[in-house]
Amino acid sequence: MAESVLNPLMQEFLSSGKPMVEFKDVSIRFDGPAVLDSINFAVMHGETRILLGPAGCGKSVLMKLANGLLEPDSGEIFVFGRSLGEMTETEIFEMRAHVGMVFQESALFDSLSVENNVAYRLCEEHVAPETIHARVIEALQFVELEKAIDKFPSELSGGMRRRVSIARAIISQPDLILYDSPTGGLDPITSNTIIELIVKQRDVSHTTCLLITHRLQDAFTLATHRYDAVQQKMVSIPDGGIDPGTKFLVLNEGKIVFDGTTLELTHTENPWLRRFIE
């Protein structure tokens, strides 16, 4: 976010080399068995962390925990080096100003037009109206939806809603983006457009991100492609290269079954994991 670049604390944190997000022994349960059980992992600056796992294994819950939308029953979560449990509510809202989140079902505000949805955060921050409009246009151009600016969410297709949701998350140029199943329920072509946007966002702004997907294909596209600014499209990394910042986290039944790089994942010996990725 433009402001956060100026924010000295944030700058200092980014150069400190500490993880952007860190889970320490985090457990949470609703009624019934634990949804997440002693989760430990860290996401470093500039990393794209892909979260995989069967449906209902707690991926969305993990992501909400990372943004302070849910509280863990035990364990500690550090975001930008600070423990969420020790922050006051105001501090959590300040922390969220540096985090963009794309929800599983887009979660656009039905009562607001696309423009006001995308502008929501800037309006809340009382940015000048002319600046807001310019930045909304910019964000919508990024997701190639500037013609839909006056529409309402109910008039958009699933893929368009997802793109508006991405525009809403990136408009403030956050330091961390959380994508919850951005391609869920979309056809392969639309999914590809979305993944291309995510790759573009990653390679243009070098934002740290946490991404949930149930489509392995999308995960591998993210790992093996980069955005070419000259051709203005996503191209595969030559010579079978792999994006070094892309890492994986695989969850199953509340536990982490894998935490490592793309190569480690494709060469795993774990039989469950082999079945899962094939």
Binding site: K64, N67, L69, E89, F93, R96, A97, V99, M101, F103, Q104, E105, A107, L108, F109, D110, Y120, R121, E124, E125, R168
Partner: protein, 259 residues
């Protein structure tokens, strides 16, 4: 129907009361600090106040009509038909105006709030709002609370006036009474305490409608069918609470004013 152990049942009730009280405390507390969503307050006032006007006018008017008809039948036995105005005015101002307006607005707006906030909850819009840095209680509940309390106060006055007009209409057109007598006896019968009682009740009802509607909306789970359930529960709970507080306030006012 599912049976739960009495202990779990009592615990769940205590937890609900605690959540509800916290919601009320935060909604009121948010009034005293920035940011305040004044534009949302006016939008809500328009939808609650202007939107409820037709039903409030109609129910008020016809309640007054019925009251005059019924009163005349009983009063005739004592040869006191001339007191119809007094009876209609007192009943409307002290009791029926506030309670019926509260119930009508509850049916219209407690359900509206529960379903609107409930849909936002199940489609993750509430979480999205928090993720975008807005406190949903401040943005959604406080404006509705202020709007309902303010508008219900004025709607009650309108309802009282329409009720008296309805009573007068029936008295003059059907009972062949004198309009001047009707209004005069009505006016003379009202004491300070009666008016205060009638104007204090909507403040409580408004508070109940907004907080109960929002409470059920915000705790909705379970998709669209959950929204339907919350809506029903919100109307039932707020109607019962309105009548209960009506009883308590009446008792309190009798203590204060002796009538």
């Amino acid at each position: 129907m599912r049976f739960v152990s009495p202990e779990a049942y009592v615990k769940s009730i205590v937890a609900s009361v605690q959540d509800y009280s916290l919601l009320c405390a935060r909604a009121v507390g948010d009034l005293f600090s920035r940011p305040r969503y004044v534009a949302d307050m006016f939008t809500q006032m328009d939808s609650i106040g202007a939107g409820s006007l037709p039903i409030v006018v109609l129910t008020g008017f016809f309640t007054g009509c019925v009251l005059a008809l019924q009163a005349a039948v009983s009063l005739k036995e004592f040869g006191a038909v001339n007191m119809t105005g007094e009876l209609v005015t007192l009943s409307m101002v002290k009791e029926l105006g506030p309670v019926l307006t509260g119930l009508m607005v509850s049916g219209r707006n407690a359900s509206g709030m529960a379903s609107e906030l409930g849909s936002m909850k199940v489609s993750e819009q509430i979480d999205a709002m928090r993720a975008l840095g807005t406190d949903p209680i401040r943005k959604l509940v406080t404006p509705r609370l202020v709007a309902t309390v303010v508008m219900l106060f004025f709607l009650t006055i309108i309802s009282d006036a329409c009720g008296i007009a309805g009573g007068a209409f029936v008295s003059v057109a059907m009972l062949k009474l004198n309009a001047a007598t009707f209004f005069h006896t009505g006016y003379m019968s009202l004491a300070h305490g009666d008016v205060v009682e009638g104007l204090v009740k909507p403040l409580f009802s408004g508070f109940i409608i907004a907080t109960v509607g929002c409470y059920y909306g915000l705790r909705t789970t379970g998709g669209t069918s959950g929204v339907g359930k919350s809506t029903t529960q919100a109307v039932v709970a707020s109607s019962v609470f309105i009548i209960l507080t009506d009883f308590l306030v009446t008792q309190l006012m009798i203590g204060f004013f002796g009538r």
